[in-house]
Structure formats: C-alpha cells, structure tokens
C-alpha cells in the first residue's frame, strides 16, 4: 500500500469479511524493506484458520509438499525438501515471514521455494496461471497469520 486509504463503511465491512472489496496491494507494488515486507497486503487482517487450510491445500499453498509441520500431524505425507516449520514464529518476525511468502528468493538466494505473490517474470507459465500469483493477497495474509501461531516457546 502506497498510502493509508480512507475506506467507506461499506468497503470496510466488505474488506473485513475478506470480500473482493478489500483494498489490496498488487504483486508489483509490494514494498520490501530488505527481504521483509512490513505492511499488510490487504486491509483485512489474516485469518489463521483459513491460512492453515491454504497451507495444506495442494492447489494453493501446498506448503506441506516441502515442509513438515507437527501442528498437522494428522495430515499424511509431510515433505522433506525444506526445514520443518515447527516454531517458525520464534525464528522470524511477521514482516520477515510475509517477505518469505511473497518472494522467498529475496531471503534465500536461489531457493527452490516458489514465490507465492509474484505475477510476472515466469518462463512459460501454464496459460491458466499466466499473469497471476499463486496465492491472493488475502491468502498470503491468512498464511502469515497462521505461521505466527507456530510457536514452541
């Protein structure tokens, strides 16, 4: 978001409901502070329950393909490509986690982890995904909110 926005009551209601009205930052406009993204991508706060579902869903985050996560011990088949995400909120701040999700290559150079909020610069993307990010702004916020619940203390 370039500047704070003034919302009408109706828009605010829609935004809080996670509706299409929520003001959101387009992928090309996301502002990085180093590799972190301090500002939320939407006006609606992230919902950890929805984020958890996105994490599991093979057509959305599919994070479980690469990361084990003890919070989902009931889900079969946890991947081994990336580090387990137990206690990830103890290791990274909210802004850093958002940065890793938006474009992990800014945090981990040359990583295998996809950029989840980037919509251009891809080589032969399948037509139905061309010009689109893997996750919506709201889904990114939802996953960030979920990751922030992964604390070990």
């Amino acid at each position: 978001m370039a500047a704070p926005r003034i919302l009408t009551a109706a828009a605010l209601t829609a935004a809080l409901a996670g509706g299409a009205w929520a003001a959101e930052t387009a992928p090309a406009e996301v502002r990085f502070d180093g590799s972190a993204v301090p500002q939320r991508l939407t006006d609606a706060p992230g919902d950890p329950a929805r984020g958890r579902a996105v994490f599991i869903d093979r057509k959305l985050g599919n994070c479980l393909a690469c990361h084990a996560n003890s919070d989902m011990a009931d889900e079969p088949f946890h991947g081994e490509i990336g580090p387990p995400l137990d206690g990830v909120a103890d290791r990274w701040s909210e802004a850093e986690l958002r940065g890793i999700l938006v474009n992990s290559k800014k945090t981990f150079e040359g990583t295998i982890m996809p950029a989840f909020y980037k919509d251009s610069g891809f080589n032969r993307p399948l037509k139905k995904f061309a010009g689109k990010p893997i996750l919506t702004a709201q889904q990114v916020e939802d996953v960030v909110a979920y990751l922030l619940t992964l604390k070990e203390e």
Binding site: E80, I81, I112, N123, K127, I134
Partner: protein, 268 residues
C-alpha cells in the same frame, strides 16, 4: 527396503534381476558428473512396486508387449510388409537397440528417438500411416523393442552432430520453468531421495521407458512424463516429439549412461 548404503540419499540396496538377467540400477558417476552416483528410479520405489517389475508374470506392462508382438508380425501399409518382413525375429534383430537411442539420423538431419525411427519405417518402408506418439500401438511397439535391450547399459553417441543437442538438453534441464519457477535439477539433482509430499524423488532417469504407471493405469511415453513434470510446476509443456523434448531425452541418456535398460519399468 531402505538399506544401510543410503548415506547420501534415501534409496535402497536391492538388486534388480529379471528373468535371470541382472540389471544395473546403480553405477558410478564419471568424473565431472553432476551426481555422486547414478541411481535408477527403481531403487526409490517401494518393495511392492519393485517386485512387480522384477517378475514378468506380474508386470502389468506385459500385455502391451504381447500386443507389440502381434503388431510386429502384422502386415500393414501399401508395401504389404510387416516389421518382421525386414527385421525377422524381434529378439534377434532388436537386441540392445533401445540402449543407443536417441540416435543421429543422417537423412533426417536430427536425432531420432525410438518413436521417430519406428514411424520412419512405417511411412518409408511400409508405406503405412505413422502412429501417434502416445497411441496404444506406439507404446506397445516401443515397449516390445525396448524390452529387447533389457539389461543393456544406456550409451548413446555423444560427439559429432549429437553434441549440440545434448548441450541444448542440458541447458533446458537447468532452466527454471512455470509459475513454480523450478528446474528439473531442483528436484532430481538437488533433492532426490527426499519426499515431496507423497512422492519419493528419484534422479529422474529415462532407462525404464515406456513405463507402466499406476497413476496412468497403463504405459506412458517418456515425453508424457516430461509433460507431467512441467505441468506440475505449472509450466506450459513442450510437445511430445518437439526439439526441446528430444534434446532433453538425449541429455538424460548421457546423464544416466551405464544404467541398465528396464523397459517396460513399473512406477507409481
């Protein structure tokens, strides 16, 4: 079973013997090779899947091989010939052949995959219609011809006009594609032996094709597998038989040099 030798990566120590023929599923990598050792996808499969491939009576691809034999003997096309008219007994004439493919074809001025060669024989020598890449007929015939090379070490011509195709294939292998922005190497070189959700990543070798896959409930060509891997990373795949896939196939034949042909292999 997961063996003790799995120090570098998770694959087992079982040996593959089919019909008394030992098939090399692990060979040392020559100096400068990107992998520490060259290991067939068979070693990464479960004991149950391995057993199906190791026994011709259990191998679900053998039905297609039998169909391939009937096609071999069948007259087709305006020249009134069958494959057998020129090549005789497939077990004699096609011994070891698949291990040398893709192979430079002087007349076409490009490398021929086995599919290309079979269709050239159909159109030029038999005056018959070419078979479609993924047709039942082509899969059966590549399985039949491929099986005659079982146990033969993969080894193709690398110099001369093949060199630039192999180089082009190598370039593609290390290029990131698709919305997930991944290269073949990210999975099959950097992460083989690890689980990617329910899949156990292998080195992605080509020595078993055409391969019977449970997921396909039948045989599929190598280029179908390439297409599937590209679609999984949300990339617009190249076409079966395209220059890009032929180049990739040539590079992978070199990358897996020395592995025994397993055609028709069984995978999940």
């Amino acid at each position: 079973a997961m063996g003790a030798g799995a120090a570098l990566a998770d694959y087992d120590d079982d040996e593959l013997v089919i019909d008394g023929v030992k098939i090399a599923t692990k060979v040392p990598a020559p100096p400068g090779h990107p992998l520490p050792e060259i290991v067939s996808g068979w070693r990464f499969r479960s004991d149950e899947t391995q057993a199906l491939e190791a026994d011709d009576f259990e191998n679900p691809a053998m039905v297609a091989v039998d169909y391939g034999q009937s096609l071999w003997d069948a007259v087709d096309g305006e020249a009134g010939k069958s494959c057998a008219s020129c090549h005789g007994d497939v077990e004699e004439s096609m011994k070891g052949v698949r291990a040398g493919y893709p192979k430079w074809n002087e007349k076409a001025g490009r490398p021929f995959t086995l599919e290309n060669q079979i269709n050239a024989c159909r159109t030029e020598n038999m005056k018959a219609e070419p078979w479609k890449w993924e047709s039942r007929e082509m899969l059966a015939m590549t399985a039949l011809v491929g099986k005659q090379a079982r146990g033969y070490p993969m080894k193709i011509q690398k110099d001369g006009p093949m060199a630039e195709w192999i180089e082009k294939g190598k370039e593609l292998y290390y290029t990131r594609f698709g919305q997930l922005d991944l290269a073949c190497s990210n999975c099959h070189e950097d992460n083989y032996g690890k689980m990617i959700r329910a899949d156990h990543l292998s080195q992605g070798h080509i020595n078993g094709f055409p391969t019977y896959r449970f997921k396909w409930q039948g045989l599929g060509s190598l280029h179908r597998r390439f297409k599937g891997c590209m679609e999984n990373i949300r990339a617009e795949p190249f076409k079966r038989g395209s220059d890009e896939f032929v180049a990739l196939e040539a590079y992978l034949a070199v990358r897996g040099e020395g592995l025994g042909i397993e055609t028709p292999a069984v995978r999940n």
